[in-house]
């Protein structure tokens, strides 16, 4: 029989607070180590691209942020589903914690994409590439959830509303992605050539295999920091948090 104790423990803010405190240094340090290795490797020890020269090196930041931006939305939607099904307070906090971090990383993905676009396509923003447009829509989905959180005076109502809209977004995201893909393929002009990630050379690929988990861990660390703020806010009247704060002081 499966042991569900870990799941029930997750429901306790006190246990989660302690666990985050124990894990956070490790997650943060390993994220920074992986990112430094990957970035130094990618910037200094990979050969330049035969067509793009050195400008392609931004993929070591751009691709991981784009991957994590989408994964973050799904993590948020799972938190929303848990909150709706089991009414777990901690899931609401996770939803609140992930939204701003996800929005920030999506913005970073958009920014690095635009910076990469200038030398490659000759323009910061190109509507012909479906991925840029989809990322922008994803950014707006994150902003909508943050706006919904802020609009409710009553935190519980805001959390439930955000959970519902996060789930609606989960159903919609594949449809949005596919439709934008379809739209851009219909309007594509032949003058622009896209670089395909799938045709990347192996030696350019290896640093990416280091920075992707690095950005995942960085994302996790940022969410943990946000979670700690959320727990402190919702448990501000509880005895254990007061004791913790006195011990820290």
């Amino acid at each position: 029989m499966a042991n569900w104790q870990w799941f029930h423990r997750l429901g306790s803010p006190k246990w989660l607070h302690g666990t985050i405190n124990r894990w956070l240094p490790w997650v943060l340090v390993s994220a920074l180590v992986l990112l430094s290795i990957g970035v130094v490797w990618g910037l200094a020890f990979t050969p330049p691209d035969y067509k793009q020269g050195n400008s392609f090196r931004i993929i070591y930041i751009h691709v991981p942020t784009a991957v994590v931006a989408l994964a973050g939305y799904y993590a948020m939607a799972i938190a929303g589903a848990v909150s709706i099904i089991w009414r777990m307070k901690v899931a609401d906090m996770a939803l609140r914690a992930i939204a701003p971090v996800g929005a920030a990383i999506t913005l970073l993905g958009l920014f690095t994409g635009a910076v990469w676009g200038k030398p490659t396509w000759g323009a910061y923003w190109v509507w012909e590439d479906a991925r840029l447009t989809s990322m922008l829509v994803l950014f707006f989905l994150y902003l909508g959830i943050m706006a919904l959180h802020d609009a409710f005076q009553n935190r519980q109502g805001g959390s439930r509303a955000a959970a519902i809209i996060a789930l609606v977004g989960t159903v919609n995201i594949p449809i949005i992605y596919k439709s934008v893909d379809w739209w851009s393929s219909l309007h594509q002009s032949a003058s622009i050539k896209f670089t395909e990630e799938s045709t990347i050379a192996a030696e350019m690929m290896y640093p990416l295999m280091v920075t992707i988990p690095g950005v995942y861990l960085l994302f996790a660390a940022a969410v943990m920091l946000q979670m700690r703020v959320q727990i402190a806010h919702s448990e501000r009247h509880s005895r254990w948090l007061e004791k913790y704060a006195i011990n820290r002081a």
Partner: protein
């Protein structure tokens, strides 16, 4: 004083389901709520001329503004007409959505509806349907006029109307989700836009593509089936989210 008590004959007692009771009798209350709500909402909407007139007026004015912004050149206008009409129709429906549940929320009838022991799926359908008939359908009916204003060729006019007929239903169902989530807030308008505009992306893509295909004489089945699929998907799934949103708005 009218008699509000429900006579025993309208609601069958499930415990005395005898052999001569038909199974369909059990479902009768659900459908009677559906029809009652539909008729009631039509009465309410038709007594307020603004309900259907204001979105239409808004759409005409925005088309006028677009034309002033782009310039009177007929070829530029026609090239952009499909996109303009779709964006404007989308805005008109979206702006009218804040009113979908608000009056019912303010006077308490929404709470009564949620207290009903019957499933909420069909009542929610009735509310969205009634709202669509008043806001979406007039846009579909008036769309030939928009086409003439912007110079869309005659053979594409039925395609635009058909696309709007299917697409405006999707817009109403998806928008009702945002309306149900924001009905307890004082000002829902801009928040509804923030929540729902990203979800409208597929509708605008396939809707305007459908018109464009009709103008260019390309095959229509692909985009048409996508629009039908979006309508079926949103009609089936959106009420679940709307019910969740309404419960959240009432319970807090």
């Amino acid at each position: 004083m009218p008699d509000f008590t429900v006579s025993d004959s309208t609601i069958p007692d499930p415990t005395v389901l005898s052999r001569n009771t038909k199974l369909s009798d059990q479902y009768r209350p659900v459908f009677s709520i559906f029809y009652a709500l539909l008729v009631r909402d039509f009465h309410v909407y038709f007594r307020h001329r603004g309900a259907w007139l204001n979105p239409l007026t808004f759409i005409f004015m925005v088309i006028l503004l677009f034309t002033l912004g782009i310039g009177p050149n007929a070829t530029t206008l026609t090239a952009n007409a499909a996109g303009i009409i779709w964006v404007v129709a989308l805005l008109g429906i979206m702006l009218s959505l804040d009113a979908l549940f608000r009056a019912d929320y303010d006077d308490g009838s929404l709470e009564q509806l949620l207290l009903s022991p019957e499933p909420l799926y069909l009542p929610v359908m009735a509310k969205v349907l009634a709202h669509w008939v008043v806001t979406g359908l007039p846009i579909v009916v008036a769309s030939p006029l928009f086409s003439l204003m912007l110079g869309i060729s005659g053979k594409a006019i039925p395609a635009l109307a058909l696309g709007l007929l299917l697409g405006s239903g999707v817009l109403s169902f998806l928008g009702a989700i945002a309306a149900s989530l924001t009905v307890s807030l004082r000002s829902g308008g801009l928040l509804i836009a923030l929540l729902i505009l990203p979800m409208y992306v597929p509708v605008i893509i396939f809707g305007s593509q459908f018109v464009q295909s009709a103008i260019e004489g390309w095959p229509l089945t692909a985009t048409l089936s996508m629009l039908v699929a979006l309508l079926i998907g949103s009609a089936v799934l959106a009420p679940l989210a709307i019910i969740g949103g309404l419960r959240m708005s009432i319970d807090g």
